[in-house]
């Protein structure tokens, strides 16, 4: 495609592309996100494509390989427009039926429709499904409209409309004021007001400035940044262009983990396509504004999501944080003023410029505006990516969207914000998803991870898991983080293995406070949160481990024993054949017995037993 030299040429291109697509009657949108790809959506895509061309439908039906639709658990997912028909768990063998019946005849295939996990009802359209219905999908809903590898799709969908607006007309100060009055706060974890960050960066005197997109998402169980970047990279790029224009940067970086190969690939393609059209490079759309973006791949260190460590990594140094007494908006990448924002923050920017700050601020609470993407995982019926307005209660997310506990178990807690966040108990589920509300309760929104836990989860085990994660991922530079996390883990391990003493709880609290106040970077400062929040809300569980030497959830191996309930055991022998340690003995049709000496507490027998006879005490 030829280079675009003005705003008018961009609009011409948009109109021409729309005209070309006028004779398309049906669009088949197959999810090609990482989640669906792991459930073999590539084979589905190939099968549908072959089927369409063998039926001669290439011209009238458009096959769109999109980014993630959010409901990853149901993958591979297909949506067919018009009709908004939603098929899930599609296999390549279904391609013929989908094309012949739904695309050509308009009939719905009952068996591929989504069956609700709660009511058992089948829903025909995406909009009806409770998982989607309760959401407010401002960013994620754009994913299904575009093929991330085709800039044309993004332009047809109305993309790159904010860019000409900031190039001709709105002054940088006005852009920043618009972002400030929208009340956009950083989606990466800290919740720092984006407008203020941009304002400080704009005012910092320098001939060279940078903007960076932080796509180094590493929280266990969270993948919203990956989903946005690999599903709609042009949206992020456009946001970065607006930001660069506002702060006066000529160069940008997308720092993306190498473990996200599809995000790396799609963002590279997007940058090349934008360069080809002249949307990146010198004199963008004939203006005096020049801006280019490079992709920097991260090696997967969690600490490199911290701003100064990330910048050190881009500079080619070891990814270690440094003291931030001078902020990165003044002294950042290559010691130049740098604006660093998360993927989701950048993705919010174009819509604010297009629709105005009051549109953005119409959703949300007093201090937290707009929507937030959450990664809902754990012991819950519906898992996936969820976008809700700020101010939605945790209860709505967990029960209305998530459908409640998996296997009918009752839910005990939710862990928000990844390793830096905290656990909130069931009686705090009415709290709103809001930066300040959650921070006050001892947790945080963080990047948006939301792990749901039920009665079979031991909170000490959770704290131990996150401390182990942080111990591995700490850079080891400063004493409180390196030794403090190590000692906290040592104490919790003592408690879970039955060597705990009550005075250790006070020590744990004091140590956690010291680490959070004295650590060098954000990772260390928030590292004690999993310990502090579980201590605050689940202290009886800690005390049970120490005083009674019992694990109420039946998880901590040193404190539990397996035994067979003689009233329930039918002597079927399934557990005997399942036990790899040969710890179970017993004759057929007679009650079996577990040898406590040999038992390794692996839990295989318990999951194999159909009569619920194996109990944990």
């Amino acid at each position: 495609m030829p280079r675009l030299n003005s705003h008018r040429e961009l609009e011409h291109l948009r109109e021409r592309l729309r005209e070309q697509r006028q004779n398309i009657t049906t669009t088949v949108m197959v999810c090609g996100g990482t989640g669906c790809r792991t459930s073999n959506s590539q084979a589905v895509i190939d099968a549908v494509r072959d089927e369409l061309s063998s039926q001669g439908l290439d011209d009238s039906v458009r096959l769109c390989v999109t980014g993630c639709h959010g409901f990853c658990e149901q993958g591979p997912v297909i949506i067919i427009e018009p009709g908004n028909i939603f098929y899930c768990h599609v296999s390549p063998e279904d391609a013929f039926e989908i094309v012949y019946q739904t695309v050509m005849k308009g009939e719905v295939i009952e068996r591929l429709l989504y069956e609700d996990t709660v009511s058992g009802e089948r829903f025909k359209t995406e909009a009806e499904i409770p998982f989607y219905k309760a959401q407010d999908r401002r960013i994620l809903s754009q994913n299904r409209l575009v093929d991330p590898c085709a800039i044309e799709d993004y332009i047809v969908a109305g993309g790159y409309s904010a860019l000409p607006r900031v190039l001709n007309g709105i002054a940088p100060e006005e852009i920043i004021n618009e972002i400030k009055s929208a009340g956009l706060r950083g989606r990466g974890g800290g919740g720092f007001p984006t407008g203020r960050k941009w304002g400080d960066c704009m005012e910092a005197p320098s001939d060279e400035k940078y903007v960076i997109c932080n796509a180094d998402e590493g929280d266990p169980g969270a993948y919203m940044d990956r989903c946005v970047l690999e599903g709609n990279p042009h949206l992020v790029l456009e946001g970065m262009m607006v930001g660069a224009r506002a702060v006066g940067a000529r160069k940008g970086y997308i720092y993306v983990r190498n473990e996200y190969p599809l995000a790396v690939k799609n963002s590279r393609i997007a940058v090349e396509q934008a360069r080809e059209l002249g949307l990146l490079g010198d004199n963008i759309l004939g203006s005096s504004f020049s801006f280019d973006v490079d992709i920097a791949r991260g090696g997967g260190a969690f600490v490199c999501g911290e701003s100064t460590a990330l910048m050190a990594s881009i500079e080619g140094k070891v990814g270690e944080p440094r003291a931030k007494d001078v902020h990165t908006v003044v002294d950042g990448l290559y010691h130049k003023p740098t604006t660093l924002n998360n993927v989701e923050t950048w993705a919010n920017v174009p819509a604010i410029i297009l629709n105005g700050s009051s549109w953005f601020a119409s959703k949300g609470t007093k201090a937290s505006k707009g929507t937030k993407i959450l990664a809902l995982t754990g012991r819950i019926k519906n898992t996936g990516l969820v976008e809700v307005a700020m101010g939605t209660s945790i209860r709505e997310v967990v029960f209305d969207i998530g459908g409640g506990g998996a296997n009918g178990n009752s839910i005990k807690a939710v862990q928000t914000g990844g390793p830096s966040g905290g656990c909130l108990p069931l009686d705090k589920f009415d709290l709103a998803i809001d930066f300040d509300v959650l921070a006050e309760a001892g947790s945080m929104i963080g990047s948006g991870g939301m792990v749901v836990m039920d009665e079979e989860t031991c909170m000490l085990d959770v704290a131990k898991y996150f401390l182990t994660f942080l111990q591995d991922e700490s850079c080891g530079k400063c004493v409180p983080c390196r030794l403090g996390i190590d000692r906290m883990l040592e104490i919790i391990t003592d408690i879970t293995e039955g060597r705990g003493r009550m005075e250790q709880l006070d020590l744990l609290e004091e140590l956690a406070d010291t680490v959070s106040q004295t650590a060098l970077c954000g990772l260390g400062k928030t590292a004690p949160n999993p310990v502090l929040s579980t201590l605050r809300y689940f202290r009886p569980e800690y005390e049970a481990h120490i005083k009674e030497k019992k694990c109420p959830a039946g998880v901590c191996k040193a404190l539990i024993t397996y035994w067979i309930d003689p009233d329930k055991c039918t002597g079927c022998g399934v557990c005997i054949s399942g036990c790899v340690h040969e710890a179970i003995t017993g004759e057929k049709k007679e009650v079996h017995v577990i040898d406590a000496q040999l038992c390794q507490k692996c839990g295989i027998c318990r999951s194999e037993c159909k009569f619920d006879a194996i109990q944990v005490v």
Binding site: A323, K477, P480, L507, T518, L520
Partner: protein, 228 residues
Amino acid sequence: MLQYVNVNIDGATVRAPRGTSVLDAAIEYGICIPHLCHVPFLSDIGACRLCIVEHVVNGYSKVTTSCTLNVEEGMVIRTNTDKIRRLRRNLAELLVAQAPNSRAIQDIALRCGVKEVRYPFRNEDCVLCGRCVRVCTEIWQARAIGFVGRGKDRHVDFPFGIRPDFCKQCGNCVQICPMTIPPCDGPMKPGKEYLCRKCESQLIDETPGSCSWCKLGEGFGCGRYVGV
């Protein structure tokens, strides 16, 4: 020309050239802030965190390390509040539990008010203060040693574990190491895991508000000694 700024440290107005760290300015005026990884003429990395101070801005106090904080006009610093003493003591306790045989660490711990250590002792020889790495990199430009590994596995080593030709064998890394002071003969015999309290700092019960030119400072290269 040097530009001077006025900083308020513990109520005293201190005049220091722009660009100096709060730690240097305080030591210059005899206000002692315990520190381990800071060495004059080397860059500061803020690793040991012992030199933490409260930086009061608009009524809010922020805990930060004084070695990485540069002086600014009108800055208000508190080096010796209850909170700082408590945090510093906890940090020193972590350090001394890691390297209980080091005289320098024992001295610092005692001076920071550590009376008992609530963690099981470990017998590490290195607390990763990074003095050796920085002297090799910055003064000798040799880069013969560096940090290897991450988190718990972090340690100081040669590249690929083999002494390279560009190591000039100057021995500065050894001289500057706080562990090279002859170790205490008191502590850490099996079963006797306690602080011996035979160090020079035994007479000082609490962290002094002003520098006492302690013998200890000479031992591990306190800025007061090396700097003057």
